[in-house]
Structure formats: structure tokens, C-alpha cells
Amino acid sequence: MTAVTAPPRELAKSGIVAWLVTTDHKRIGILYMLTSLGFFLIAGFLADVIRLQLAAPQQNIVGPAAYNQVFTLHGTAMIFLFVAPFGFGLANYLIPLQIGAPEMAFPRLNAYSFWLFLLGGLTVFAGVVTQGGAASAGWTAFAPLSDVRVSAGVGQDLWILGLTMTSISGIMTAINFLVTPIVFRAPGMSMWRIPIFTWEMIATALLIMMAFPPLTTAFAMLLLDRHTGARFFDPGSGGDPVLYQHIFWFFGHPEVYVMILPFFGVITEVVAVFSRKPVFGYTGLVLAAFAIAGLSMGVWAHHMFTTGAVANPFFAGMSFLIAVPTGIKFFNWIATMWKGAISFETPMLFAIGFMLNFLIGGITGVMLASPPIDYHAEDSYFLIAHFHYTLGGGSMFAIFAALYFWFPKIWGAKLDERLGRIHFALMFLGFNLAFLPMFFLGVMGMPRRVYTYPAQAGWGLLNLSSSIGAALITIGTAVLVWNVIVSLRKKEPLPDDPWGGGYSLEWATSCPPPEFNFRALPPIRSKRPAFDLHHPEYAKDSQK
């Protein structure tokens, strides 16, 4: 199959204007990734405020009103403006390259979705300068806490409007992720040859299309409740606060997988390249991605076990089942490493860190899926520890793996390896120091979203450990920023495949790739076209 229409011509080739008007998928991908990393730095700073306030009992560095805005914006930015959009940016950059296409299927829609995302993020943060401050109802904005009678400030409205924009932006970008690999594949690139990362993005796109419209609906209903007296969620008028939770989590649980499936793809690619092995269990990995996506549509109410308003056993059983395809991913990664020739450059270090951390997040997720455990652990620091192990120790580590792995492809320069190792060491140590103690804090009875705690509770030492961990993570992030600045200066000519062992098509074009990606496409006769091109003597292994 070939492109049916020529990609739109760029209005400007260089300078700021070129970036403002671009419809080039690579530039849009870079804009997405840079913007999301910017929000990551802000959300990380907010996490430091949280850890400073909680470092010791009964502190008043920030008061309750400010603290509640801080954790609301921290969660909102990390989830809606960092983890998911970084995956979108990476996918924008990589999908056309991996399937041998010159562009996304809908380049203008792509540009629109990025700018709408940026506007949405800025709208959420604009609440900071309004009277009453930013939203403070948590990233979940449960009714009736988010109702106008309780959260009167315009900050809450800006939060709802901003996230509605990012939600619509996500739906549009998902259309591109779904259509492009189906219709724009290069000759020879059958569906069963496209790289796992692109497969994961197809599953992600389907999830977005099913999950984001309900989010937009929930937010529209909140706005109508707030400003037109619609009373969808007002029990005084026959409305139901539990209804909001159903709609929100019908989005919210698939969203969890929108934030992890792309990074399962990243880990698959990184592990195979640095193990110098073909991906093990390609078919199993693809089927597992769709099994996870499918199951994730039927588990939302495990966030609602303590409401007493849902069929707990059904949702517990469905949630347990997700462990099976997730386990398949882990076993396939291990089998990919098995009998390989593994080297430990920074992307691989972060990939191994991902596996060790996400494993903890996944296993404690199975625990939380059991209602008799959830009745104690829900909304405690046990839950905070669990989802930070999936989204921080998991997705964030995979984001760093991706950053180091594809940086030479995107910028034509490798990140410094020594600084990369320091970054990884600080992150791995800091992350576990910060979040492992939280499991124990939760079991001991510390609830989430409290701005302070009494000294006699005995939680001081574990919280201090957590705050020291946060400091190490912050230093690690500073090392990363320094690494990027230093490495960008020393551009040197790189081969098409700077790591060696790259197998997907992006490693068969220059670093960075030219406009429309390929000067000439290599023949595509297996799942490893770039590897076959560079190492024809091993091409027979690609055919298995």
C-alpha cells in the first residue's frame, strides 16, 4: 500500500514559524515530547513541595488550602499532561518511521491535536492566577466535592475546560494512531511485521476512542451541574454522586493502560536491541496487548469497592484476569533476554529498572483487586505506593529508556553515557527510597491527600525516607537536564543504527531522518528489515 495523497507542503522550512505551522509528524512528535517533559518538570517540583511538607509531622510549610491545590495539579499534570502525552509524542515520531511511511494519515489533524493539548494544559494551570487559586478537588474531581457549592472557584472550571480540551485532542490523535498503520504501511510491511511499539499504539488508540468520550461526557455533566443547575450528581434532587464515579472510572481505568501500553512497547524494543535477539513471542505480545485493552474496559469499578454500590466480586475477578496477559509480557521480555548477548547502556538500565519496579506495581495491583484487602488499603498510602510503582517506576522509567534510546535518532547525537548511568542510579535508588516506605505507611493507617499528620501516629521516619528519596529523584532529573544540554552541543555524524542491533525501520534511515523519512526503503522481508539490511548473514533468523 502507498500513500494516497501527498503530505501537505510545509509553510516554512526553518525558524520559529516552521515549528508553529508544522504538520510534520516528527516535529509534532518532538513538540509533544518537549511539552510533556516541561509539564513533568512542573509536576515534579509540585511533588517536591508535597514531600517537603510531609517530611516531618505537624509542619506548616504550605497550609491545607495550598497543599490541596498542589497535589491536585501534581496528579493532573503527571497523568494528563506528562505520561500519556509523552507516549503520544513518541508515537507521532515513530509510527510512520516504523511502518515505512512518509507521514501520519491526517497531518493537519495531528498539528491541531498538539496545539489543543498545549492550550488545555495551560488552561488547567491558568487557575493558579485566579482568585481562589487552582482546582483543588483532586485529579479525580469527585462530585459533590467538585460542585460549585463546595468548590466555587473559577480554578475548578478552568481545570474542567482544560482537561476537556486535552481529552478531545487525545481522541483526534488516536484516530491518527489507528488509521496510519492500517493504511500507510510500506510495501512488504504486513500487519504481522509491524514493530510491537506500533501494535501497542493501535491497542492504545482503540482504548482512547472508547474511554475518552466518556471523560468528556463526565466533564460536560460537571460543568452543567456547576453552572446550569443540571443536578446530575446532586442527591438532593434525585441525582447520584456514584454515577460520576462510574463514568469517571469507565474512562479512568482504560486511561491507566493508555499510560502503560505504549511503554510496554518501548520496553519490548529496548530489551530486544540490547539483548541482540529477535523479540520473543511476537504473536503473544500482540494478543496480550489486546487482551489487556479488552479486559481494562470491564474493571472500572474496582476503584469503587468501598462505595458499597457495585458488584465487587465481578470486578475483582475481571481485575485478577489482567495479571495473566501482563505476566505474558514479562515472560516474553525475560525470554528475549534469555541466551542473548546483553549490554547495559542507559536505555537497557532503565528497561531493567522498569521491569523490577513495575513488577511491584503489578503484584500490589492484584492485592488491591481483592476487596477484603482493598477495604483497608484503598485511599491509603498503600494505594499511592502501588500506582506510583506502575506510573513512576513503570511508565516514567520507560520514558527515560525511550529518551536515551531514540535521542540519537531524533537529534543526531547520543546522550552522555556516564551521566546517563548517574541519572539511572539516582532514579532507581531515589524512587525505591521514596515509594517503598509508602506501602508500610498505608498499612499503618496513613490516608492519602492529607497535608499533615500527628506526631504520635509514628509515621515520621518512613515519611522522611520518602522525602529523601524525592530529593534524589530531583537531583537525578537535574543530571538528565544537564546531560541533554551537554550532549546537544557535541553533534557528531552517527550511523543509521547507532546502537547496533536496531531492527525496526527507523534504524534504516539517517539520524535525524530526512523530510518524509526515507531516501530509499530497504526491502521488507521480515519483522527485522533494518537488521536484515545491516546483517544479511543473520537474516534467516528473522524469518522464524
Partner: protein, 234 residues
């Protein structure tokens, strides 16, 4: 090597169990059993999978920097079926542990020996004993005390008068949401006399952190005396 993993798993499991509060209610005893099984299973699975990851990384490190490709295999259907079916059996087992425990914890005795209406509001709690006409109401500065008789089943009727709260007694390993427009009903059967801290677990606004209370479990005689002393006549 496997022996060491199992020993490590057992150590982690024991530490985990020790961190869990002792069974202060009959229902908590059942839930503690579920915790113990899950923590043990979690520790074994973690030790096994993390062990494999670390083992593979060390055993198959690149010795010759010029290696272009390690082994060339990329599938093994029997193995892949095995690591699909075995986890399926494991989660089936976990469900079998979960289901009866949940049924037990959720079951409500009728008629209960005692009933307390618990109402959450921003930012404290009101405890009403309807039969004795006793009401205790706290403030965020003065947390209220819920008094329960030991060895008897008390029905809690949980509600909220504004936003959603959650009534959590960590020592009872249990919380339930207090939702406006809904009355959530469940039982406590305390087994040990003592004073247990409790707090709101569902974020409810500015002073959520101060929405605490205590539960005091006393002998039935003391409970009757307490009700008399706090009745409307007093």
C-alpha cells in the same frame, strides 16, 4: 538458588504480616487471613520473576563486544501456553480466597445487638445511638469517640450530609464510603477492648486531614453505663 528465593520470599511475607494491625474485630480476622495469603503469594511471585530478570541479565551479559546476535530463537509455543495457563490457575486460586472472605465481611446480622448511625460532615463525625437517644458530635479540633461493646455485633449505618467521606478504622482493616443520598450498612464485631484511632479516608476538602475520631471498645456493662450517662436525660 531457588531455596534462597523462597527464604527471601518468606522473610518479606513475615515482615509484611507483622506490619498489619492485629485482628481487633471478628471481620478483621477474616481479612487478615486474605492479606497473609496474598502477601505470601506476592513475595513468591516477585522473588521468582525478579530473580529470573536479574539472572538473565547476569548470565547472558555480552562477553564479546562484537556479537551481532545472541541465540536466534523467537518462539516456543508450549512454554508460552504454560505461562498463560499457570498464572490463570493462580489468579483462580486468589479469587477462591477472595470470594468467601468478602461474603463473610459483607454479611449483616439481623437484628443487630446495637445500631449506630454514623454521619460524616465537613470536617467531623456524628454518632447517633437511636435506641438510647445518645448523640456524640465532634469538630475538627475535638474528634468524637465511638463507643462499641466488645463481643457483640454493632450495625453501622453510614451516611454523609455534604460530600463523600470514608469511615476508616485501620485496626479493623476496614473502611466504607459515606456518600450523600446513600446509607451504607455493615457490621463490626469487636473482639478486644481498647482505643483505636480512626480517620476520614476520602478526600473531602480543606481540613480533610483533621477529620479524625477514635473508637473505644468496652465491656457490655461499661457500654450500658456509658449509654445511660450520655442519654438525653443527662
Amino acid at each position: 538458588m531457588p531455596v534462597r528465593f523462597v527464604a527471601l520470599a518468606a522473610a518479606v511475607a513475615l515482615t509484611g504480616c507483622a506490619a498489619i494491625p492485629h485482628d481487633a474485630t471478628q471481620q478483621a480476622g477474616v481479612m487478615q487471613g486474605v492479606w497473609a495469603i496474598f502477601i505470601t503469594a506476592a513475595a513468591v511471585v516477585y522473588a521468582l520473576v525478579a530473580g529470573l530478570i536479574v539472572w538473565a541479565a547476569i548470565a547472558y551479559r555480552r562477553r564479546d563486544p562484537a556479537t551481532v546476535q545472541g541465540a536466534g530463537f523467537s518462539q516456543n509455543v508450549p512454554l508460552e501456553l504454560a505461562w498463560t495457563v499457570i498464572p490463570l490457575i493462580v489468579v483462580g486460586g486468589l479469587f477462591a480466597v477472595t470470594y468467601p472472605a468478602e461474603r463473610h465481611v459483607e454479611s449483616v446480622v439481623t437484628p443487630p445487638a446495637e445500631t449506630v448511625q454514623v454521619t460524616g460532615f465537613r470536617w467531623s463525625w456524628r454518632f447517633t445511638y437511636p435506641r438510647a437517644h445518645v448523640t456524640v458530635e465532634g469538630t475538627s479540633d475535638k474528634p468524637p469517640e465511638l463507643v462499641l461493646p466488645v463481643g457483640r455485633t454493632t450495625e453501622i449505618r453510614l451516611a454523609s450530609s455534604d460530600v463523600i467521606h470514608a469511615f476508616w478504622v485501620p485496626a479493623f482493616l476496614f473502611k466504607r464510603d459515606a456518600i450523600p443520598g446513600i446509607v451504607n450498612v455493615y457490621d463490626y464485631t469487636p473482639l478486644r477492648e481498647g482505643v483505636y484511632p480512626g480517620r476520614c479516608a476520602e478526600y473531602c476538602g480543606t481540613y480533610h486531614a483533621h477529620m479524625s475520631f477514635t473508637v473505644r471498645v468496652v465491656s457490655p456493662e461499661e457500654f450500658a453505663r456509658w449509654l445511660r450517662d450520655h442519654g438525653t436525660a443527662a
